[in-house]
Subunit: 197 residues, 2 copies
Amino acid sequence: MFSPKFVALVQALRGLPSVGQKTAQRMALQLLEHDREGAAQLARAIVAALEGIGRCESCRIFSETPVCPVCADNHRDATQLCIVESPTDWLAIEQSGAYQGLYFILSGHLSPLDGIGPEDIGIPELMNRLANSPVEEIIMATSATIEGEATAGYIMDRVDPARYKVTRLAQGVPMGGELEYLDAQTLSLALKSRRSV
Amino acid sequence: MFSPKFVALVQALRGLPSVGQKTAQRMALQLLEHDREGAAQLARAIVAALEGIGRCESCRIFSETPVCPVCADNHRDATQLCIVESPTDWLAIEQSGAYQGLYFILSGHLSPLDGIGPEDIGIPELMNRLANSPVEEIIMATSATIEGEATAGYIMDRVDPARYKVTRLAQGVPMGGELEYLDAQTLSLALKSRRSV
Ligand SMILES: [Zn+2]
Ligand SMILES: [Zn+2]
């Protein structure tokens, strides 16, 4: 009903998380009707992000430099390594302000039924990361879901318990809860009361 | 905390309607982490839309051609002109399938307190549109809000009641309701039972 280029724009906007047909249409109308400069800005920001943002060699977070600012910061405690499932979880922990160690960001969790194995989520890279590092404590901050627990278990089976202290976020994380939806205070508490496993 | 290009992307996404900081972050992460091809597609779709989509000379809806497909369709009834406040309202009526006439799309409604006068919403263009046309019935489909009613009243004061039959959508439109949120059936009924004013 609208022009083909409008339809294509709506279609592309629908690719954004939790954007359905109606919302995508409203977004496209808003961009064309009231915010053409904002739309141009968005297109430029996407292209710049795609071209300029890669992954940190060390922790795999998005980074514009080979090593991200967190990994490059020598005020961070390199003896602690916090393992998370996603950049969103990384962000949630960073924003809590309760953690001063380093990170390793997996690409999700193990899910054998979906054919997602250790290689798909970066576990070999994690093992390399651990091999040549001063890490003493591994903080398993995967989600408190069945898959998150299974992923943590899989990793724990493969690290030397004599060499590393392995901890898990405390019970403050609700069962089935995803880290990215937790408030900073709950996350802070869960980090502070983390326990050995 | 994230890289500057990521922050810029989040900022640009926040310009979309009803997208706050948290949602924008999730969108940016999704695009970079899981959907780089979709992100590139979105950037291209935005640029193509901005470059290729203008306004129909006749009704002012978004169009890739000087005259839009609706205005160019000689199966539509050129004696009826439906006046709406926005492309979204236009879309809602088109999707109801209940209307076969033509349109004129205003840029919103009059709002003297915000300094929005007749010239800002396209009323002079509407008068030109009426001047050289076979229009017999003007259907005022502005929103059932105070501003929508005031806009309809302003236009009605300026068209010759001897020359045009002027109608308004029937009471099916709830008071304070915005057209774009109505279901197609309610809109169909409101159109069918429109009344002379
Ligand atoms: Zn890093
Ligand atoms: Zn037109």
